[in-house]
């Protein structure tokens, strides 16, 4: 074969490949569960690693007085320190002293019961008032269900219209899954790509919180984290994001203090963690010094549990999630909050699900076996039928399942009291 023919062959292959890529739709072609893409010329010749350039918009800055950081000494009461209930939370209590010079993180995972920062905000307010820190913590780049009151944010392409980045979820409908399981600490990921979403313009993210949640720095949790120090506290800030990268969320915080993330996973039974790539989880828990993980699940499976065996199977699955999370966050204590009381119609009357006490016991047993702490919201509310009373008091919605805002505040206060109960300002027990 003559070299000229080989040369023509090579040129034709390169040319036709280039043409095929050029003709390929930019948004890709969906084949089965996968979207097939074609590279642009730059990517075709030399693939570039995804990068995200983040710039700040100073126009929106509104400086507030510096956030105060109370420096109360931390002691754990003698009684509680010896109490088995609090035994596994000790690493968290002992880390609280570090909030003075550094940060301590609490991540509150839960189902729709904590959606909109409910319950979490009560705990956050108490912890930040006592140990310092300000800011709402981690929020997703794009919120599917805009229900938070502690912050608002608008993601826009050109300042007028809202744009929706490609988002994958570890929970909810299976069509939103991602093959490589890289979801990040919120169980969701937004694929920022200016080229796909917004032509060549950058994307703007305006963050706005209430005054009580002023923040001093913004952490963009992504394939590679970026921390932007604002030098002073503010409640408003606009980020401009240019480029392409997986973004797991944006955290509003300060350099020191305690932060509580509210991660609401609607419809989730709490068994999704093993389906999230551990690398990003571990990196987040380590980098943000996460010392307490609160899991509040169970409500979504209650209607489907009819036998003791099913309950045990669910409890075992939860046990596996705890094992996995412990491996991802070996320094964090884990607190599991069981399902609240829930009502169903039986014989034309509202009454609590009969399986709830069985589930509560099974979960407690599993959680304690996994060396974590269990707190029964069901018992704290008052046991069987309590939801009916809460409904009558305007603390629960008409569905007999979800709390109203007031009810969430009360439940949050109960959770707060449970967590903070062992802490005292009197040096009755060593805190080393």
């Amino acid at each position: 074969m003559k070299p000229l023919r080989v040369f023509v062959f090579l040129c034709l292959c390169l040319l036709l490949t280039g043409v095929a890529f050029w003709l390929f739709p930019r948004e890709g072609v969906t084949i089965g569960d996968h979207v097939w893409h074609a590279p642009d010329v730059q990517q075709y010749l030399q693939p570039q690693a995804d990068t995200l350039t983040i710039t700040l918009d100073t126009v929106c800055l509104l400086f507030l007085p510096a956030v105060e950081r109370p420096q109360t000494p931390v002691y754990v009461s003698d009684t509680c320190a010896r109490d088995d209930t609090y035994r596994w939370l000790m690493p968290f209590y002992l880390s609280l002293g570090e909030a003075k010079d550094s940060t301590v993180r609490v991540v509150h995972y839960g189902d729709s019961q904590i959606e909109g920062d409910r319950m979490t905000m009560v705990l956050r307010a108490a912890l930040q008032a006592r140990f310092g820190g300000s800011g709402v913590g981690l929020v997703p780049l794009y919120q599917t269900i805009d229900s938070r009151t502690t912050n608002q944010y608008i993601l826009s392409g050109d300042g007028r219209r809202a744009v929706v980045p490609k988002q994958y979820l570890a929970f909810g409908p299976s069509s939103r899954r991602r093959g490589d399981h890289r979801y990040g600490p919120m169980g969701q990921v937004s694929v920022m790509d200016n080229a796909l979403v917004n032509g060549s313009e950058d994307l703007s993210l305006r963050l706005e919180t209430t005054r009580s949640y002023a923040f001093e720095q913004v952490r963009v949790v992504a394939t590679r984290d970026t921390i932007i120090d604002l030098t002073d506290s503010t409640t408003r800030y606009t980020l401009h994001l240019t480029g392409k990268q997986d973004v797991y969320g944006v955290s509003m915080e300060c350099a020191t203090g305690i932060y509580v993330d509210n991660v609401a996973l609607r419809g989730c039974a709490g068994t999704i963690f093993t389906g999230i790539d551990s690398v990003a989880l571990q990196r987040y828990f380590t980098d943000t010094r996460t010392r307490l993980i609160i899991l509040q699940f169970g409500g979504n499976v209650v209607p489907y549990l009819t036998t003791r065996k099913q309950v045990e199977q669910y409890a075992a699955r939860i046990g596996r999630q705890l094992k996995y999370l412990r491996r991802c966050a070996p320094e964090a204590a884990i607190l599991f909050v069981g399902p609240s009381d829930m009502l169903c119609f039986k014989d034309g009357k509202r009454q609590s699900y009969a399986i709830l006490p069985v589930l509560d016991t099974a979960l407690r047993s599993t959680i304690e076996q996994e060396q974590a702490t269990y707190w029964s919201l069901y018992e704290a509310m008052g046991g069987a039928g309590a939801m009916l009373t809460w409904m009558q008091q305007g603390l629960a919605g008409k569905d007999g399942i979800h709390f109203t805002r007031q009810g969430a505040d009360r439940a949050g206060a109960m959770l707060r009291d449970f967590i903070l109960q062992p802490l005292t300002e009197q040096p009755v027990c060593t805190n080393n």
Partner: protein, 611 residues
């Protein structure tokens, strides 16, 4: 425009020129265009000049390719080439004039210069560490020493050329530019195969010739290599293996084991993928590189594995290390010197005197047996030399305790298997029973050691195999198993498992900062072994495997293709090569489009670039 041109022409450490990028194929097309102009229709008188011009052009193109891959380290390549050429010329002259001593001095000087360059880049951190520990200095390496890409491959190639000229196996290349082309030919420059001068130099003076079917085969090798690299190697690495090796404690024992087996496939797909592309690209230019892999996981024992894996390096080690040590005839002073050196290095790297004691005791036992049983001396020396060769092969990969263990395990595996095959079935069974019992007893005493759990499981498997073979022998009174195929499949599986476990140490020591490699590599290997050897959550096994179903599926498919009969592979290779060119072109376009779906922006460089 100017900036883009500068980007294309200059070195960017973030974007080396890789076979997996469109930029490389554009480069190749341009090179091929010029190549076509040079080698195209030439009269008989012009042919010599054209060949010379072709070689010079390809050398310059290779140098630019190396510059794009390794930057100013190109100077090192040029200097080493020049030094080797001058020394071999001088050696040849001295040899012809009968100055044997001078010839030998020139040989050693040339080899030492090459080894010094290699040693500096590979072992500088280790050397500084040793000096600091020995004489209490506080020397530090302020500028991070980067390893020039492919330095081992071209220094080995130069050493082989120098040694062949010394032994008068070949005549020295007269023309410096031709020699430069031989050393730096770009398809095989950065990761082999290590081409012997006797195989390649004659091709420098041969006119271009490429048959129609050879063309098809060349295209097949290129596509085959790209598929291996992008679909198997990179996908497995980025989606699973790297994550597990980065943090073994985050994953269960089953996941760690899966990662280890997947790594065995990854490293093969990566390295042999590179070689396939190199062979195909060279073939399109009318040059023929030797085969570097021959389905290594089909090997039924460790010796066979090393005859099938990285064949050019195995052959190099045999010719230039094993035989000079004494080969299978005797032990030379070099054998004992290297034994001592490795014992010292091993003790240093492991930080344990047990290593020195173990090696000294082994040497003493060998010496004693050689003294008492002179008829076994040859066997002992052969085994000792092959063991040392494997240890040196391990150290070549880097000054890490893990690489030394990897080399040692391979050496031990080869020796053990050689002895094993000479024993009677009953003796094999008895030895295996005793060994299994001993390890179980150790486990009973030393319960917390995870590696003992792994050893127990594996020895139990071997014992079952040995028992079945003995049973077949007793029942049939024949030394042959009932079914050779089953026996062979069992042997292939065991060899694969053994090689995979040695890779635990190999992979843990790879991709690391040389300054901290030793400690980190050892830690990773220990953690993985601890995870694999601790109690498995069997109830969780299926959900875990299901979560990694794509990885499992790719691994299974990869291994099945690997284990296909050679005849079948040859058949479809020829079928592809015989397709009309107008069919091959759309095939190439389609395959490239599919491959792109597997590509990630953070493409992995070829594993063996780092060695």
């Amino acid at each position: 425009m100017y900036e883009q041109l500068t980007d294309i022409l200059t070195y960017d450490p973030q974007h080396p020129l890789l076979f997996t990028q469109g930029a490389f194929w554009l480069f190749f097309a341009v090179v091929y265009g010029v190549f076509t102009c040079i080698v195209g229709r030439a009269s008989h008188n012009e042919q010599k000049t054209r060949l010379h011009l072709r070689n010079v052009f390809l050398m310059l193109a290779s140098w630019w390719f190396y510059y794009k891959t390794s930057g100013t380290f190109l100077l090192l390549l040029v200097v080493l080439t020049l030094v080797a050429w001058l020394f071999t010329r001088a050696m040849d002259r001295a040899n012809q004039q009968g100055h044997l001593r001078l010839t030998r001095i020139l040989l050693w000087s040339s080899v030492l210069i090459d080894l010094a360059a290699l040693g500096f880049f590979k072992y500088a951190y280790f050397g500084v560490d040793v000096i600091n520990q020995l004489i209490g200095t506080q020397l530090t390496i302020t500028e991070k020493i980067l390893l020039p890409v492919g330095i081992s491959f071209y220094t080995f190639q130069i050493i082989s050329y120098t040694a062949d000229v010394y032994h008068a196996r070949i005549r020295p290349v007269r023309n410096l530019l031709d020699f430069g082309f031989y050393v730096s030919f770009f398809p095989q420059l950065v990761a082999g195969p290590i081409v012997r001068a006797s195989e390649f130099v004659p091709q420098l003076y041969r006119p271009f010739r490429l048959g129609r079917r050879q063309f098809g085969i060349a295209v097949f090798w290129i596509l085959n290599g790209l598929i291996k690299k992008i679909v198997l190697s990179d996908y497995l690495a980025t989606h699973f293996i790297d994550r597990v090796f980065d943090n073994p404690l985050l994953f269960s024992g089953a996941e760690n084991l899966l990662a280890l087996f997947a790594y065995s496939l990854q490293v093969y797909a990566d390295f042999s993928g590179y070689t396939d592309i190199a062979i195909g690209v060279a073939m399109l230019m009318g040059f023929y590189l030797p085969r570097n892999f021959h389905s290594p996981y089909k090997a039924a024992n460790p010796q066979e594995f090393w005859r099938r894996w990285h064949i050019s390096l195995s052959r190099w080690l045999k010719t230039y290390v094993y035989i000079p040590l004494g080969g299978n005839r005797n032990a030379t002073p070099a054998t004992y010197i290297w034994l001592l050196v490795i014992a010292v290095i091993g003790t240093w790297l492991s930080g344990s005197w047990w290593v020195a004691a173990l090696m000294s005791a082994s040497a003493a036992v060998v010496a004693l047996v050689a003294y008492v049983r002179p008829e076994h001396r040859k066997l002992l020396y052969a085994n000792m030399n092959s063991f040392l060769t494997m240890l040196l092969g391990g150290l070549w990969h880097g000054a890490s305790w893990n690489f030394l263990i990897w080399g040692g395990l391979n050496g031990l595996g080869m020796i053990a298997n050689k002895l094993w095959r000479e024993w009677h079935r009953a003796v094999q069974w008895g030895v295996m029973l005793c060994l299994t019992a001993a390890v179980f007893a150790l486990r009973y005493v030393w319960a917390e050691q995870a590696w003992l759990n792994v050893a127990c499981v594996w020895l139990l498997c071997l014992l079952v195999g040995a028992s079945l073979r003995l049973l077949v022998y007793v029942l049939h009174g024949s030394d042959k198993p009932v079914s050779l195929a089953i026996g062979n499949a069992w042997a292939v599986t065991q060899t694969f498992v053994f090689i995979t476990f040695t890779r635990l140490f190999f992979r843990s020591g790879s991709n690391l900062d040389p300054a901290t490699a030793n400690e980190q590599a050892w830690q990773t290997a220990r953690q993985m072994l601890a995870q694999i050897g601790s109690a498995w959550d069997t109830a969780n096994l299926l959900p875990v495997l299901w979560e990694h179903r794509v990885i499992v599926l790719l691994f299974v498919i990869g291994m099945l293709i690997h284990w296909m009969p050679d005849k079948f592979k040859l058949w479809y290779r020829i079928r592809f090569a015989s397709l009309p060119v107008w069919v091959i072109i759309p095939c190439v376009v389609l395959i490239v489009m599919v491959l792109y779906q597997f590509m990630r922006a953070d493409m992995q460089p070829f594993i063996y670039f780092q060695f």
